[in-house]
């Protein structure tokens, strides 16, 4: 499987196309449907993050989604060129808190971390924000 990269604009309407692209690539890489769903959702959350935070909801930004295989992993790299995103500044949601104490932020990042085997964030003024999501191709 050769790396496959697609560029999208940061329009929320593109999220379903991005999901389809990643699902197709994940199936080609041999992931089962459960894993396909998980990497797809993690990617959706990463792209939503780019749209909402890096580009403040502006639909004209650029988001690149690249899928490739590295050893035992199926990898999705999401790149945007918006404002720096620092995951350490996002508060962790307490998913056991009662309704009145539930905060509505931080869930996207929580899902990203929960659904993949490894996740890395980086920022560079030229290279932009990069999120690298890794999913094992098969059960260990």
């Amino acid at each position: 499987m050769t790396p496959s990269e697609v560029c999208f604009t940061s329009d929320r309407a593109n999220l379903s196309q991005i999901a389809e692209f990643v699902a197709e690539q994940a199936r080609l890489a041999g992931l089962d449907e459960q894993r396909v769903f998980e990497i797809q959702m993690a990617t959706d959350e990463a792209c939503t993050n780019s749209i909402e935070h890096a580009y403040d909801g502006e639909p004209a930004g650029e988001i690149r989604v690249c899928c490739y295989i590295e050893d035992t992993d199926f990898v999705v790299r999401v790149t945007d060129f918006g404002r720096e995103f620092n995951p350490d500044l996002v508060p962790q949601p307490d998913v056991t808190a009662p309704l009145e104490e539930r905060s509505i932020g931080g869930l996207g990042l929580f899902f990203m971390r929960k659904l993949v085997d490894d996740i890395q964030f980086s920022f560079d003024p030229i290279q932009g924000n990069q999120v690298i999501l890794r999913k094992r191709r098969a059960c260990p």
Partner: protein, 110 residues
């Protein structure tokens, strides 16, 4: 959307993907129903294929809004895949959920 009655439960049917592209629209719809005086608001998820954190946020806001005014917000016919998302976020403990999940194990929609 038909004219809501204040007394009868109002059932809103979700379809397809509830992601960031649709979340604010759903939020407006749920707000409008609350403003129209609907006390028991039911969201049927049987035709929903995907729910992201953007959608979860909207559901949480609706639950708070309905309960704050003495009403209810209920999730109905939750497909297993959507239920997993609710469980990961701990939302299965916050929301009243009705309907047999076995009947709606998988739905395929555009």
């Amino acid at each position: 959307m038909s004219t809501p009655s204040e007394q009868a439960p109002y059932v809103l049917e979700g379809v397809g993907r509830i992601d960031a592209s649709i979340a604010s629209q759903l939020d407006e719809q749920l707000k409008a129903l609350h403003a129209a005086g609907v006390r028991v608001l039911i969201l049927d998820l049987s035709k929903v294929t995907y729910l992201s954190s953007s959608g979860l946020r909207v559901l949480l806001l609706a639950l708070r809004r309905q309960e704050a005014s003495g009403g209810r917000f209920v999730l109905r016919n939750v497909p297993e895949r959507i239920m997993r998302v609710l469980r990961i976020a701990g939302f299965d403990r916050l929301f009243p959920i009705e309907g047999d999940p076995a009947l709606t194990s998988e739905t395929h929609d555009a």
